[in-house]
Symmetry: C2
Subunit: 364 residues, 2 copies
């Protein structure tokens, strides 16, 4: 008897299309036999991690044989102090995706549903599917979350709603007024998760300060990450801030050692270096202007973004992506988001942006 | 209206007692205001990681801002070459616990059941419970897996069976003859997971070489880790070797960046340093003899173990554990395993073993 061991797996997984990450530079160079290519495909901080991070990590590498502190004491204390919240409101994960997964695992059963916006960060939808749960996809409005229609989509089976703010890959955001309206409208037994992976980049005055909402809305969970502005994507540290009750549940749902110790130490050090954060913000603002001006000069449209990336309408993203690869420039085509006209480009250093713009000019 | 956000969570999580890791040294010293304590509570390699590991990790720390290669290309190639299997048979996880979790998530639904032995590595049972699935706990035989009764426990709803070999915390093992008999008896639609976290320590000639079984039994999954003999517990890298079909499903179930890049590089380097592995085995064999002799001289019984740890009958583990803590020695009381008479002690360096034995002598 021959058995297909795929067919024995849960149907939700059998039919799932895994997330396609940005192509690693090594892979591109292996495939095309080229060197010195650049990657602007994963919204990484082009300035890299703070030097304090590297120092802190180096100091603990000789302790690699010791299990992490399963309670994440040090990093929780550091985050609690930084945000003026209690340590028991913090949950730390193997990237914020780990926290998103724990929320799905903890609060959704097969007959429950969740609500998410069209064009929202795809990993969330894939995670939801991997747990065999249904998501209502609410059509976007001007590429952003349609808050009113998301509220209208709530029904008896809704238990969890995801907002991505600002949204990746569109760079759009939900304003404070709309966010407040949303939190007021959602019944308190429904948990609202706001994924704020890019929040540190934001200077828009009407971007909601969700930490302030936490005390009034115990159904609110804020997820954030060290992968973006803090430059620790390789190390996988994300966290959530929530009510202690929700944090207690997530703590039960997680693996006992889900966060590695080197990463914890590095994250604590990263938090200390707010100068590096400011430098990263400044680089991003300058780079965003540089790209916007050039893209307009190319007569291309882009979606206005407050993140560290910009999505550009190049008509045929798949083709342009391939052509850019041959120029040694990796960007992200957005076909998986049903945005086949758009590529998403991370704001790099001035030189990287220039390199991308030259390559784009060549292939257009 | 006041809502308890714990009560909204899935009932399997609400009622779950999280895994209690070995107490971190920092925590003990914080609590008791002492210094220079030792931890023999988590089966860590007392020799630490290979120097090659530290060098390899240091070299990539400046790349901390770059996302890991989601496909784990390099580490999969290294493991495939090391074990003479195909790279598509390898799944890499955030510790082998991550792989165990992916198996549960992928192959069990609420109405399915799984089988596991009494006294088997507790994290597995906790993970099973966290997914709301039922496990049949088969009573142990001489502290080890009762293979015959595990076979007899199979019924129509069984889809996954876990063996832990050697078992933690008892150090007992399933012999090749019994393992073969087991694989023959289990119907091919049931997946057998053998957790071999300690396999590199084993010299017993009748310990099964499960890699050889893989080609005949495509329902076999072997999980292993870099946390034990390779000394990378802090970094969280585990892996499984299975049929490509099962690996394909696990790949869909995992987070896209579940393994951090520094850890991948470190694991590749660790695999290169087999001298360090041999040194670790030698230290373990000597230390095991040192402990066995002294324990017998104390007139205590222990469970014969082939791992890097030994479980000792001290009559009242909870009390002895507390008393040892005050001596600055952390061991593991096994109350959570329903073994209230036993403490589990990791084989340390000669000096650490001596320190433990002196402390034990004092508190007895």
């Amino acid at each position: 008897m021959t058995i297909d061991y795929r067919s024995l797996a849960n149907s939700s997984l059998r039919n799932l299309t895994p997330y396609q990450p940005g192509k690693p530079i090594e892979e591109l160079e292996r495939e095309l036999g080229i060197t010195s290519s650049i990657k602007l495909a994963s919204n990484e901080n082009p300035l890299g991690p703070s030097p304090l991070v590297i120092k802190a990590a180096q100091e603990v590498l000789h302790q690699s044989h010791i299990y992490p502190d399963g309670s994440c004491y040090e990093i929780k204390q550091a985050l609690a102090q930084f945000f003026s919240v209690q340590a028991n409101q913090i949950t730390v994960g193997n990237g914020s995706e780990n926290i998103l997964e724990l929320l799905i695992k903890s609060y959704l059963l097969k007959d429950d549903t969740t609500i998410i916006s069209e064009f929202a960060f795809l990993t969330i939808s894939i995670l939801i599917q991997s747990y065999g749960v249904q998501a209502k996809l609410v059509p976007a409005k001007h590429w952003g979350h349609d808050i009113i229609n998301m509220i209208k989509s709530i029904d008896d089976r809704t238990r969890l709603i995801f907002l991505v703010n600002p949204n990746n890959p569109t760079g759009t955001y939900t304003r404070d007024h709309d966010f407040h309206l949303f939190m007021e409208a959602v019944p308190p037994h429904i948990i609202v998760v706001v994924d704020e992976a890019y929040c540190e980049y934001i200077s828009a005055p009407d971007y909601p300060d969700t930490l302030k909402y936490l005390q009034h809305y115990p159904n609110l969970v804020i997820t954030r990450t060290f992968s973006k502005i803090y430059g620790l994507a390789a190390l996988r540290v994300g966290y959530s801030i929530s009510s202690p009750e929700i944090a207690d549940i997530l703590n039960r749902a997680r693996l006992p050692f889900n966060v590695n110790s080197i990463a914890s130490k590095a994250a604590c050090a990263a938090l200390q270096d707010q100068q590096h954060v400011l430098k990263s913000i400044a680089n991003n603002q300058q780079g965003m202007l540089q790209l916007q001006e050039a893209i307009s000069a190319f007569d291309l449209n882009y979606i206005s973004s407050i993140g560290n990336f910009i999505s550009i309408d190049v008509n045929d993203a798949a083709t342009i992506y391939q052509k850019l690869l041959r120029q040694g420039v990796i960007v992200r085509p957005l076909n998986a988001y049903n945005m086949p006209r758009h590529i998403r480009v991370t704001i790099g250093t001035e030189e990287q942006n220039h390199r991308f713009l030259t390559a784009l000019h060549t292939v257009l």
